[in-house]
C-alpha cells in the first residue's frame, strides 16, 4: 500500500534528521537515534514498557471518550437549536480560552490524585475543542436539508439521527484528530505527578536520573501512541465517512 510506504519514508527521514542533529550537537541531551531505537525495541519486547504504554493509552482514550460523550450531544444541540445556541454560546466563549490546566488543584480536591483526575483533566480540555467544532459543524448545515427532512415527516430525534449527526461527523473526526495531539501533550503533564506508571512518568523519571536514552525512549513511545490513535481515527473515518471519498 502506498500509504504505508509514505509513513515508512517519513519515519526514516525524521530519524535521519535526528541523527544529523545528534552528530552536530554531540551532546548527552540528544542521544543518537539508533541507541534510542534499540532501547525502545528491547523494552517493548521484554515487556517493561508495555504497561506504561497501555496505561497512557487508556488514560488518553478514556479522556477523549468522556469528552466526546459530553461534547458531541451538547454541540449538536447548541448548533441546531437556535434559541439554545444563543444562550449557551456566550458561556462557551467565556470558558473556552481559560487555560484549564490551572484547574488541576481543584480537580484533585474533587476527585483525588488517582487516575480519574488525570482522565478528567484530559477530558475537560479536549471537551471544548470537540464542542466548538461540533457546534460549528451543526450550524453550517444548509436549511434545505432540514426542509427535506420535514417533508419526509421526520421527528426531532430522527432529524438528529439521519441529518445532524451524519452531516457533522466529518467535523467531529477532525476535532478528534486535534484532540489526540492535545491529549498526548496533557498526558505528559498529568503523568508527571502522583503516579509511577505511564509514559509521562517514564520521561520525568529518566530526566531526573539524567538517563537520556530512556528519556527519548519515553518521547518516542508517546509519538508511537499518538500515531496509533491517528491510525485508529483514520480507520473509523474510512468506515463512517465513505460518502466523502472521491470528493
Amino acid at each position: 500500500m502506498g500509504r504505508k510506504r509514505d509513513i515508512f519514508w517519513a519515519a526514516l527521514i525524521l530519524l535521519a534528521l535526528w541523527q544529523v542533529c545528534a552528530l552536530l550537537l554531540d551532546s548527552m541531551a540528544l542521544p543518537q537515534p539508533w541507541l534510542v531505537m534499540v532501547d525502545l525495541a528491547t523494552k517493548l519486547t521484554n515487556g517493561s514498557l508495555i504497561d506504561d504504554l497501555a496505561v497512557s493509552s487508556l488514560r488518553a482514550l478514556a479522556g477523549i471518550g468522556l469528552a466526546l460523550a459530553a461534547a458531541v450531544p451538547l454541540g449538536l444541540l447548541v448548533g441546531t437549536e437556535e434559541q439554545i445556541g444563543k444562550r449557551v454560546s456566550p458561556f462557551i466563549y467565556l470558558l473556552y480560552p481559560i487555560p484549564h490546566v490551572v484547574l488541576l488543584p481543584l480537580i484533585i480536591i474533587l476527585f483525588g490524585i488517582g487516575n480519574f483526575s488525570k482522565i478528567f483533566l484530559i477530558a475537560l480540555i479536549v471537551f471544548f475543542q470537540i464542542l466548538v467544532t461540533t457546534r460549528d459543524g451543526a450550524r453550517a448545515i444548509h436549511r434545505n436539508y432540514f426542509h427535506s427532512m420535514k417533508t419526509l415527516g421526520a421527528t426531532k430525534l430522527q432529524i438528529y439521527r439521519h441529518l445532524v449527526l451524519p452531516a457533522t461527523l466529518p467535523k467531529i473526526l477532525t476535532a478528534m484528530r486535534i484532540s489526540v495531539g492535545t491529549s498526548v501533550a496533557i498526558l505528559f503533564f498529568v503523568e508527571s505527578f502522583a503516579t509511577t506508571t505511564g509514559l509521562g512518568y517514564i520521561i520525568m523519571d529518566s530526566w531526573g536520573r539524567a538517563d537520556y536514552v530512556s528519556l527519548y525512549t519515553g518521547i518516542s513511545s508517546m509519538a508511537l501512541l499518538g500515531f496509533m490513535l491517528y491510525m485508529l481515527l483514520d480507520r473509523i473515518e474510512q468506515h463512517v465517512c465513505r460518502w466523502m471519498s472521491g470528493r
Binding site: 434545505n144 426542509h147 417533508t151 421527528t155
Partner: protein, 247 residues
C-alpha cells in the same frame, strides 16, 4: 383538493420585512396537475414551501382536504449525500418505521422503474445530475403520495435529459393518478405538464393569471400546433414581468 386563501408571507432581513407572497388565492382539484411559473426570485419556492407545509403563511390559510400523503422534491438540495441511493429512496419509509423487507421491495421496484439499476449502493455525489433527480423522484414516490410537489425538478439538466425526465413525470402523472404541483421557470414545461398554469408576478408574488390548459399531460400535445400557441401566449403574459424587472 388544495385551497389557498389570501396567503401572504414575508421574510425578515436585519429587522426589515420583505414581502414575498402577497395575497395569493387559488385552488387545485384532486388529481389535477398544476404548474406554477414566474420570473426568477419571485417567490415560487416560498409558495411551494407553504403548500408542502415547510413554512406557515403570515396571514391567510392553506387547506388540504383529507390529510393526504405528500411527496416533495425540493430545488437542488433534496438528497442526503451521506446516504446511499437506496437509503435515500427508502428514507421516507424508514422514518415511518416500516419493516425493512417491505422498504427493500419498494426501493428495488423504484430503482428499476427509474432506471437506476446497479446504483443502489452509490452515493448521490457519484451520480450525474439527471440520475440524482431520478433518485429524488423515486424518494418522493416511495411513500405512495397522493400529492406530489416539485420545485424546478429539471432545471440544471441538459436539454435531452430534461425532455426524458419530462416524459417520466408525464408517465407518473398519468399512471398514478396523483395531484401534482410543479414549480418551473420553463414555459414549455409548464405548458406540457400543467393542466392549470398559475402565472406569478415578480416579487412580491401575486397571481397574474391562471391559465387553463386542458390538453396538457399527453405526449401528442407537445408536437401540436395548439401547444405552440399556448407557449406563445404564456410567453406574452410573462414578458411584461420580466421586462419590468430589468427596468
Amino acid at each position: 383538493m388544495i385551497k389557498v386563501s389570501s396567503a401572504s408571507l414575508s421574510f425578515e432581513h436585519d429587522g426589515q420585512f420583505q414581502n414575498v407572497l402577497d395575497d395569493i388565492s387559488f385552488e387545485i382539484e384532486a388529481q389535477d396537475s398544476c404548474a406554477i411559473i414566474g420570473p426568477s426570485g419571485c417567490g415560487k419556492t416560498s409558495l411551494l414551501f407553504l403548500l408542502a407545509g415547510i413554512l406557515q403563511p403570515d396571514s391567510g390559510t392553506l387547506a388540504i382536504a383529507g390529510n393526504p400523503r405528500c411527496g416533495t422534491i425540493l430545488q437542488n438540495f433534496g438528497l442526503f449525500p451521506w446516504k446511499t441511493v437506496a437509503e435515500n429512496i427508502g428514507l421516507g419509509l424508514t422514518l415511518k418505521n416500516i419493516d425493512k423487507d417491505r422498504i427493500r421491495r419498494v426501493v428495488d421496484q423504484l430503482i428499476e422503474e427509474m432506471e437506476l439499476a446497479g446504483f443502489g449502493n452509490h452515493f448521490p455525489g457519484q451520480l450525474s445530475g439527471g440520475m440524482q433527480q431520478r433518485v429524488a423522484l423515486a424518494r418522493a414516490l416511495a411513500v405512495e403520495p397522493e400529492i406530489l410537489f416539485m420545485d424546478e425538478p429539471l432545471s440544471s439538466l441538459d436539454a435531452l435529459t430534461r425532455e426524458r425526465l419530462q416524459n417520466l413525470i408525464l408517465d407518473i402523472i398519468q399512471k398514478r393518478k396523483i395531484t401534482t404541483v410543479l414549480v418551473t421557470h420553463s414555459i414549455e414545461e409548464a405548458a406540457f405538464l400543467g393542466r392549470k398554469i398559475i402565472i406569478l408576478s415578480r416579487s412580491p408574488a401575486q397571481i397574474l393569471k391562471v391559465v387553463d390548459n386542458p390538453s396538457a399531460v399527453s405526449s401528442e400535445y407537445r408536437l401540436s400546433e395548439q401547444f405552440f400557441q399556448q407557449c406563445i401566449r404564456l410567453r406574452e403574459l410573462l414578458k411584461g414581468e420580466v421586462n419590468g424587472q430589468e427596468a
